[in-house]
C-alpha cells in the first residue's frame, strides 16, 4: 500500500511515439469521464470511508469481493473439515468440539441434523459466496475495465451496491449459523417439502427463512453486477478493442454475466414461491403430505416443479462458476507458455456453445425424480453434447503448451492444475449425463467426486491462478513464489487424494449426505477409505493457510512489483503499478492487435502488447497485418 504515485507509463510512451498518424483521441464519452475523474482528484481527497469502504472504484470493489470471498472460503472449508471428522471417525468422540459447537454435540456425537446443516451450509457457501461472488465478483470487477480499456464500470454506484447487497446477504447467512434451530439443513438445493416444513427438520424453520432472505439479496447483488459487466464490455471498450480482440478472460466474464442475468431470476422465482408455500399457505410445491401426526391441507403442488426451477439456475450456475476460471486459465497459460492461445476463435466459440447448452441441460439432475422418461432421453442427448465444446477447450489448452517455453509461476502451476482437474472431473460427467448409468450413480459419492473436481476444485484453481497472476496489479507487490509452489503442490496432491478415492466409494453406491454408513452392509466396506479421505481433506484444507498467510503478508511486505512483471500483452499492464481511480493517468491506450502476440516470429521481444500498432512491428507482421499497418 505504499506505492501510490504513478510511475511513467512505458507502453503509453511507445504508443505516443508510433501513433503519429493515428494519435489516439479520446472519444467524447471517455473524454468526459476523464475530465470528471481529474476533477475529483484535484479538488477533494476522498474520506477513507468513501475510498476504501463505500468505494465506487472497481478495483477496490474487486478487493472487497476477494477478501470477503476468502473469509467465506475459510468458513466453508472449516465446515467441511467438521463433517469429514464425522465421516472419517464415526465412532470416536467429538466432545472436544463442544466449546465451539455447544448443543450440537450430544454425548460426544455430532447431531445428525447438524451434520446436514454443515453439508448444506458448506455447499451454499462454496457455490454462491465463494465461487460465484468471490471468483466472478473479484475478477470480473477487477479485469473488465482494465482489460477492455475503461476508466471504470459503466455504473460505479451499481457496482458498489452489488458488493453491499452481497455483504448484506452474507451477514444474514452468517447469522443463521447461530440461531437455536440451526441453519438451513435441507441440502444446498433446498428441495421442498423438506425445506418447506419445519416439522420435517428443525433447520427448515428460521434457518431456512434466513437462507431464503439471504439468497434474495444475493441474487440482487448478482444482477446488479451482471448488468454492469455486460454493459461495460459492450459499451466501454477502448478504441480499436473490437470483440475479436478481447482477451479470453473478458469473453468468459461477459458470457458468465449473461448466464447470471438470465438464470438467477429463475432461482428468485423459485425462492419466492417457496416463501409463499412456507408462510402464506400456498401449494406450489406441496401436495398430499402427512407429517408430525397431521395431514396438511396442501394439495396439487409438485416438488418436481421446484427442482425444474432450481436447476434452471443450478445448472448454468456451475458454468457461472467455471467459465471465469476457464478464461483466466487461458490467459495465464498463454502468458506463461509464451505462446498465443491455440484456436482463439474456437475458444470463444466453445465458450458460447457451452453457454447456450448450459440452459438446456438442467434436467440431467432429475433423471430419476419421476420426470417423464422421454424428457430424460432429450436431456441426456443435450447433456452429452457439452462434452464436445469442453473437449475442444482442453485440446486447445494442451496445444497451447505444446512447444511453448514455459515459466512455472505459481499462477501457471495452478492453471496447469486446473486443466488436469477439469479433465478428471469433466470425464466422469459423461457417465452421469447418461440417464441409464445415472440410475445407479445418482446422489452417490460418484456425483460428489465429479462436481468437486470439475467445478469445485477446478474453479478454486482458477481463482488461485487469478490471484497469483493479478496480485501485482491489485496490490503493487508480488506474492512469494516459493510459498506459492508449496501451496500448489500440497493442494494439487491433496485434491486428488481426496476426490479420486471418492469415485470408488460412489461406484459402490454409497449415498451422499449420509451421516453414517454403518447401518448398511452394502456401504460399510469403505471405512478405511473414508478415514483416508478425511485425513487428506483436512491436510489440504490446512494447507490453504499458507496461501492466506502469503496473501496478507505480501500485501504489506511483498517484493515490489514492476509495471508488467509477467511480460504480458493485455491492457491492464499498461497502467501504473498501482492504478488510481480512472486507471490510466493520461489517455486510455488504443488497441491495435489481438491479445496473444507472444513469441511472434520476426519480433525482437517475445511479446507485443495490444496497444502497439502494426506500423511499429514491421518485422513481425503477418501479411494481412501489414496491410493494416500501411
Amino acid at each position: 500500500m505504499s506505492d501510490l504515485t504513478p510511475k511513467p507509463n512505458l507502453s503509453a510512451g511507445v504508443q505516443a511515439q508510433g501513433g503519429v498518424g493515428s494519435a489516439p483521441v479520446p472519444t467524447a464519452e471517455h473524454g468526459d469521464h476523464l475530465l470528471h475523474d481529474d476533477h475529483d482528484h484535484e479538488h477533494h481527497d476522498q474520506h477513507w470511508l468513501w475510498k476504501y469502504v463505500f468505494s465506487q472504484d472497481h478495483k477496490v470493489i474487486a478487493k472487497q469481493f476477494l477478501i470477503t470471498g476468502m473469509f467465506w472460503a475459510i468458513l466453508g472449508g472449516t465446515l467441511s473439515s467438521l463433517f469429514r471428522l464425522q465421516l472419517g471417525w464415526p465412532e470416536s468422540s467429538l466432545e472436544w468440539l463442544k466449546p465451539f459447537l455447544g448443543g450440537w454435540i450430544q454425548a460426544g456425537k455430532l447431531n445428525p441434523e447438524f451434520y446436514l446443516a454443515l453439508v448444506t451450509m458448506h455447499g451454499t457457501i462454496m457455490v454462491f459466496f465463494v465461487l460465484t461472488a468471490g471468483l466472478s465478483g473479484t475478477f470480473s470487477n477487477f479485469l473488465i475495465p482494465l482489460q477492455v480499456g475503461a476508466r471504470d464500470m459503466a455504473s460505479g454506484f451499481m457496482n458498489m451496491l452489488s458488493y453491499w447487497f452481497f455483504f448484506l446477504s452474507g451477514i444474514i447467512m452468517f447469522s443463521s449459523l447461530f440461531i437455536e434451530t440451526g441453519p438451513a439443513a435441507a441440502g444446498w438445493t433446498i428441495y421442498p417439502p423438506l425445506s418447506a416444513l419445519p416439522q420435517a427438520i428443525p433447520g427448515s424453520g428460521t434457518g431456512m427463512t434466513l437462507w431464503l432472505v439471504s439468497m434474495v439479496f444475493f441474487i440482487v447483488s448478482q444482477l446488479l453486477g451482471g448488468v454492469n459487466y455486460v454493459t461495460t464490455v459492450i459499451n466501454l471498450r477502448t478504441r480499436g478493442m473490437s470483440m475479436s480482440k478481447l482477451p479470453l478472460t473478458i469473453w468468459a466474464f461477459f458470457l458468465t454475466a449473461i448466464l447470471g442475468i438470465l438464470s438467477f431470476p429463475v432461482l428468485f422465482s423459485a425462492a419466492l414461491l417457496l416463501v409463499f408455500d412456507r408462510s402464506f399457505g400456498t401449494s406450489f410445491f406441496l401436495s398430499d403430505i402427512y407429517i408430525a401426526g397431521q395431514a396438511l391441507s396442501n394439495q396439487g403442488g409438485s416438488p418436481v416443479l421446484f427442482q425444474h426451477l432450481f436447476w434452471f439456475l443450478g445448472h448454468p450456475e456451475v458454468y457461472i462458476v467455471i467459465m471465469p476460471a476457464m478464461g483466466m486459465v487461458s490467459e495465464v497459460l498463454a502468458t506463461n507458455a509464451r505462446k498465443p492461445i491455440f484456436g482463439y476463435r474456437a475458444m470463444i466459440g466453445s465458450l458460447i456453445g457451452i453457454s447456450l447448452l448450459s440452459f438446456v441441460v438442467w434436467a440431467h439432475h432429475m433423471f430419476v425424480t419421476g420426470m417423464n422418461p422421454f424428457l430424460g432421453s432429450v436431456f441426456m442427448f443435450l447433456t452429452l453434447i457439452i462434452a464436445v465444446p469442453s473437449g475442444v477447450k482442453v485440446f486447445n489448452w494442451l496445444a497451447t503448451l505444446w512447444r511453448g517455453n514455459i515459466r512455472f509461476t505459481a499462477a501457471m502451476l495452478f492453471a496447469i492444475g486446473f486443466v488436469s482437474l477439469f479433465i478428471s472431473g469433466g470425464l466422469t460427467g459423461i457417465i452421469l449425463g447418461n440417464a441409464t448409468l445415472d440410475i445407479q450413480m445418482h446422489n452417490t459419492y460418484f456425483v460428489v467426486a465429479h462436481f468437486h473436481l470439475v467445478m469445485g476444485s477446478s474453479a478454486f484453481f482458477g481463482l488461485f491462478a487469478g490471484v497469483y497472476h493479478w496480485f501485482p496489479k491489485m496490490f503493487g507487490r508480488m506474492m512469494d513464489e516459493k510459498l506459492g509452489y508449496i501451496h500448489f503442490w500440497l493442494t494439487f496432491a491433496g485434491v486428488y487424494l481426496v476426490f479420486m478415492p471418492m469415485h470408488y466409494v460412489g461406484i459402490a453406491g454409497f449415498p451422499r449426505r449420509y451421516y453414517a454408513w454403518t447401518g448398511f452392509d452394502a456401504f460399510s466396506q469403505f471405512a478405511d477409505m473414508n478415514k483416508f479421505i478425511s485425513i487428506a481433506a483436512i491436510i489440504a484444507f490446512l494447507g490453504q493457510f499458507i496461501f492466506i498467510f502469503n496473501f496478507f503478508y505480501s500485501i504489506f511486505r511483498g517484493r515490489r512489483a514492476t509495471q508488467n512483471p509477467w511480460n504480458s500483452t493485455t491492457l491492464e499492464w499498461t497502467t501504473p503499478i498501482i492504478p488510481g481511480h480512472g486507471n490510466w493517468p493520461g489517455e486510455i491506450p488504443a488497441v491495435y492487435r489481438w491479445p496473444y502476440d507472444y513469441s511472434k516470429p520476426g519480433s525482437d521481444v517475445d511479446f507485443i502488447p495490444q496497444n502497439v500498432p502494426y506500423s511499429q512491428t514491421q518485422s513481425s507482421n503477418l501479411p494481412y497485418e501489414q496491410e493494416l499497418a500501411d
Binding site: L116, F342, L401, I406, N434, P501, G519
Partner: protein
C-alpha cells in the same frame, strides 16, 4: 476456555511461521539468492510435473485395482448386468481420454519448460486439427448417447403384463410396503386417512383395499418382472436398491414407479458371496431429514414357489386391524356421501378416523 487456548495456539503457530518466513527471506536477500529470474525453481517444478504424473498415475492405478473388488456391488437384476457393462465400457472410453490428455499435459509441461535462448513456436490455430478433435469426440459421444438412449428407453418403458406389483411408501424415517392381496389390485389410499395404525392411509371403503397387506420386508420372486410403485407421504425420498441398479424418487403427491427382474435369490447370493448374513438393501437416497442415513428396508428375493407360499400366508391389513375396518363401516352408515369421493375433493375436511386409537 478451551476455545481460547486453541485459538491462542493457532495464533502463536501463525506468528512463529511468519517469523521463520521473514528470516528466510532476509537470509536469502543477504546471500544474494533472492532474485526472481527463471532458474532452479522452474526446472524443479518441471520435474515435479513429471514426478506427479508417474507417481500419481501409479498410485491411482494401484488404488483402483486394490479397491476394485470393493467398489462393485453384486448385481441381481437383468438390466443391472446391461448397465454394468455399459458403465465399464464408458469408463474404458473415458479412461483412454483421461490417460492421453493427462499424459500430454504433464509431459508437455515438463518437456517445454523454459530454456534460455529457446523461443516458443508461434502456433495460433490450425483448422484441420480443430475440426478433427471436434468431430472425433462428437462421434464417440453420439455412440454413447445412442447406447444410453436405447437402454434408458427399455428400462423406463412400461412393465410387462405379468409383473408382480407392490408398493413402497417412504416416510420419515422408514419404508412402508404393501401388496395388492388376492385380487392383485392395489386399493385406494388417501393421505388424509393416515394415522398411527393406518400408516398407509388405506381407504377401506374401497373393496380392493380390503385384501391389501403390509409387510416390513420386501419379498420378490426370482426371474419374474417386479413393478414397484412408489409413494411418499411427507418429504422427498428415493428408493435406491444398489444391487438391483434401481433408483427412483418417492414424491409426495406424485406416485412414481420402476420395474426390474431379479436374477438371484437372497440364498443364492449369500452362497455366492460366502456371506450368510448378506441381505439386499433398500436405502433412501434423497435427503429427507435427520435420520435419512438410517432409512432402510430389506429385500428378500425368493424362488417363485416360496414367494407364492409367503404371499398366501399373509394376513390383510383389514383382518389385522378390525377396529379400523369397523370405523370405516360405521362411517359409511352415517355419511350420506360415499367416502371415496373425499379422495378427489379438495375441500374435504380431515376426517377423524379410528378415534378409539
Amino acid at each position: 476456555m478451551t476455545v481460547l487456548t486453541i485459538l491462542l495456539v493457532l495464533v502463536l503457530l501463525l506468528v512463529v511461521f511468519g517469523l521463520l518466513f521473514r528470516l528466510q527471506i532476509l537470509t536469502s536477500i543477504f546471500s544474494g539468492t533472492f532474485t526472481r529470474d527463471i532458474g532452479m525453481s522452474n526446472s524443479v517444478n518441471a520435474v515435479l510435473m513429471l514426478v506427479f504424473l508417474i507417481g500419481g498415475g501409479a498410485w491411482f492405478a494401484y488404488s483402483f485395482v486394490e479397491n476394485f473388488g470393493k467398489m462393485n456391488p453384486p448385481i441381481a437384476s437383468v438390466h443391472g448386468h446391461q448397465m454394468e457393462r455399459m458403465f465399464w465400457i464408458t469408463m474404458a472410453v473415458i479412461g483412454v481420454a483421461f490417460a492421453i490428455t493427462q499424459i500430454l499435459l504433464f509431459v508437455y509441461a515438463y518437456k517445454y519448460q523454459h530454456k534460455e535462448g529457446r523461443r516458443a513456436y508461434f502456433f495460433a490455430h490450425n483448422n484441420t486439427i480443430e475440426v478433427i478433435w471436434t468431430i472425433i469426440p462428437a462421434i464417440v459421444m453420439a455412440s454413447l448417447i445412442f447406447a444410453g438412449w436405447k437402454a434408458w428407453t427399455r428400462i423406463t418403458g412400461p412393465a410387462p403384463k405379468n409383473s408382480v406389483v407392490l408398493e413402497v411408501m417412504g416416510k420419515q424415517f422408514n419404508w412402508l410396503v404393501r401388496y395388492p392381496g388376492r385380487d392383485m389390485k392395489l386399493g385406494v389410499v388417501n393421505y388424509r386417512m393416515i394415522d398411527a395404525v393406518n400408516e398407509f392411509g388405506f381407504d377401506l371403503s374401497d373393496k380392493s383395499a380390503l385384501d391389501d397387506f403390509t409387510t416390513n420386508e420386501i419379498h420378490v420372486p426370482k426371474g419374474v418382472p417386479v413393478l414397484i410403485k412408489i409413494r411418499s407421504r411427507d418429504v422427498l425420498h428415493a428408493v435406491y436398491m444398489p444391487q438391483f441398479r434401481v433408483q427412483m424418487y418417492a414424491v409426495p403427491g406424485m406416485p412414481t414407479r420402476f420395474w426390474f427382474t431379479p436374477t438371484t435369490t437372497t440364498d443364492e447370493m449369500r452362497a455366492k458371496l460366502g456371506n450368510p448374513k448378506f441381505n439386499y438393501e433398500l436405502a433412501c437416497n434423497q435427503l429427507c431429514g435427520g435420520s435419512h442415513f438410517a432409512m432402510k428396508a430389506t429385500i428378500i428375493v425368493d424362488e417363485p414357489d416360496d414367494y407364492q407360499n409367503w404371499y398366501a400366508a399373509q394376513q390383510s391389513f383389514s383382518q389385522k386391524n378390525p377396529d379400523v375396518l369397523a370405523a370405516f363401516k360405521q362411517k359409511a352408515k352415517t355419511m350420506v356421501a360415499p367416502v371415496a369421493a373425499a379422495t378427489d375433493e379438495k375441500k374435504a375436511p380431515v376426517m377423524p378416523l379410528a378415534a378409539s386409537n
